[in-house]
């Protein structure tokens, strides 16, 4: 296996290490801890009174449009990183191109701002 692939094998191994560590911690604790479940104990915590309704209640997510904006800017970041590594070769031409690209995206943010998407309502 090449060194390049071995490095990415390490990513998998580290993830497995994390899973192993968590498993070992919880496994170790299961040898020590008491286990005496009761109905009241397994009830969800709601400030000491019986929970009302389901825990999966509906709630208003006020910032879901932010998530759309996030996707827009995250894709932008994906484009900016390769450009950033090669900027020295591109010179003023590359700089101007990216400034235009960023300006268009900033225009998008400005539009969302103007439309009141970024307001808490």
């Amino acid at each position: 296996m090449s060194d390049f692939l071995r490095q990415y094998l390490l990513v998998i191994l580290f993830a497995l290490l994390a899973v192993g560590v968590v498993g070992a911690f919880i496994g170790l604790a299961s040898l020590l801890r008491p286990n005496r479940p009761s109905k009241g104990k397994l009830e969800n915590y709601e400030s000491g009174v019986d929970p009302v309704g389901s825990g999966w209640s509906q709630s208003q997510i006020r910032y879901y449009i932010f998530a759309l904006l996030f996707v827009m800017f995250d894709v932008e970041a994906v484009f900016i990183f390769p450009w950033a590594t090669r900027l020295e070769e591109y010179g003023y031409f590359g700089l101007l191109e990216m400034v235009i690209f960023i300006a268009i995206l900033t225009l998008g943010l400005g539009y969302a701002w103007r439309k009141g998407v970024l307001r808490w309502a």
Partner: protein
């Protein structure tokens, strides 16, 4: 440090370094041995700094800031308090709420810890003392750091508790908002270094000059002062530390997405939180404070080459020092400022940090091309 230890360290870490290295003793270890060693070091690099900073800052520094002594009973100056805490958590019953989604509830801590362990993978601690040397190191770090959001959302949803659900949703909203300033702040560093490889970013800081003056090298926090500020603020928010602790706001949400967890499962979230704080501090010191390198005028005085084997031993110590400095700032802020409201928090990210980060990119790009 005896020579044999040096040789052992140098030969265990068989990574490609930025410049030709000086081998003291050419002992080649097989692949499985170096990999096992790396996994052991990763375990140490995640857990020991986490324990250290929890005792030093969360127990002691905060106590002094609040005019009290903090833990004093367990060991000298309460230094074994952490052991006592682990012992306490080990005795706690493992409670799965009756209504919870059992599988997702159990899986959540795994996902969060995976994010933490993958983050430490990219950090270089010396010219050869690194777990791996990724060409896209910065990108990988930023990608795996956002895995923890999924774990937190899983924990919040699976608990089937209103507090947990609100905490999870708040965490998702916050981490999404502050992911962008975090990513965009790093772009300035990448422009200056001209690489996504963390070793090359360190190298660029060692060999850099500020207007022809190279005694300090060019630690990017001097030239990227805006980026450094945005990065630190965004890290604070990504870690959900106080000014940005809406997801776990104790006075309203008990402890947010962790409310229904008990015993070691809770402890794992706790460990992940503090270990991730340390690793983000490591990452910030690599990106902005020169990483494992010493300033060139120091290496000149002692006559050490910046890429020599000696740096594999000095590097981790330098990194630990910088990490302690940056985590000090994180906890200092944590125990100084009051909490942001959710709308203020979102507004700060979208209307201030992101435009500022974009401006910083354009400015850095201009200086890079013009100078």
């Amino acid at each position: 440090m005896p020579l044999s230890t040096l040789a052992l360290l140098a030969s265990f870490t068989n990574q490609v370094s930025a410049s030709p290295k000086l081998a003291l003793l050419a002992v080649e270890f097989p692949y499985w041995a170096t990999t096992l060693f790396k996994l052991l070091m990763a375990f140490i690099a995640v857990l020991i700094p986490a324990g250290g900073t929890v005792y030093l800052y969360l127990f002691k520094m905060v106590s002094f800031m609040q005019s009290r002594l903090g833990p004093m009973e367990a060991g000298p100056y309460g230094s074994l308090q952490l052991m006592a805490e682990v012992g306490k958590f080990a005795q706690k019953e493992d409670i799965f709420p009756a209504r919870a989604d059992r599988f997702v509830f159990a899986a959540a801590p795994y996902v969060v810890l995976v994010s933490t362990f993958l983050l430490v993978l990219v950090i270089p601690f010396g010219p050869d003392a690194a777990f791996a040397n990724f060409d896209v190191g910065v990108f990988l770090a930023l990608a795996v750091s956002s895995l923890s959001v999924i774990g937190i959302l899983m924990a919040g949803w699976a608990s089937a508790s209103k507090y947990s659900l609100l905490g999870g949703l708040r965490a998702a909203g916050q981490l999404i908002a502050y992911e962008l300033p975090l990513v965009l702040a790093v772009v300035g560093v990448v422009i200056q270094a001209g690489s996504l490889n963390l070793q090359r970013i360190v190298q660029a800081q060692v060999e850099g000059e500020i207007f022809g003056w190279g005694a300090l090298g060019n630690p990017f926090f001097l030239t990227q002062i805006i980026g450094f500020f945005i990065f630190l603020v965004a890290v604070q928010a990504e870690l959900a530390q106080v000014p940005f602790d809406m997801p776990v706001a104790e006075s309203e949400l008990v402890s947010g997405y962790m409310t229904e967890y008990s015993g070691f499962r809770f402890l794992l979230f706790f460990i992940a939180e503090f270990a991730t704080a340390n690793i983000f501090a490591f990452l910030a010191s690599v990106l902005f404070l020169g990483g494992w390198s010493l300033p060139p005028f120091v290496t000149d005085i002692f006559g050490i080459d910046s890429y020599s084997n000696a740096m594999n031993v000095i590097g981790p110590i330098v990194m630990a020092t910088k990490m302690l400095l940056l985590t000090f700032v994180i906890y200092w802020v944590r125990f100084t400022y009051p909490r942001f409201r959710e709308d203020q928090l979102q507004r700060f990210a979208w209307k201030f940090l992101i435009p500022l980060a974009l401006f910083n990119i354009a400015l850095t790009g201009f200086f890079k091309v013009a100078l």
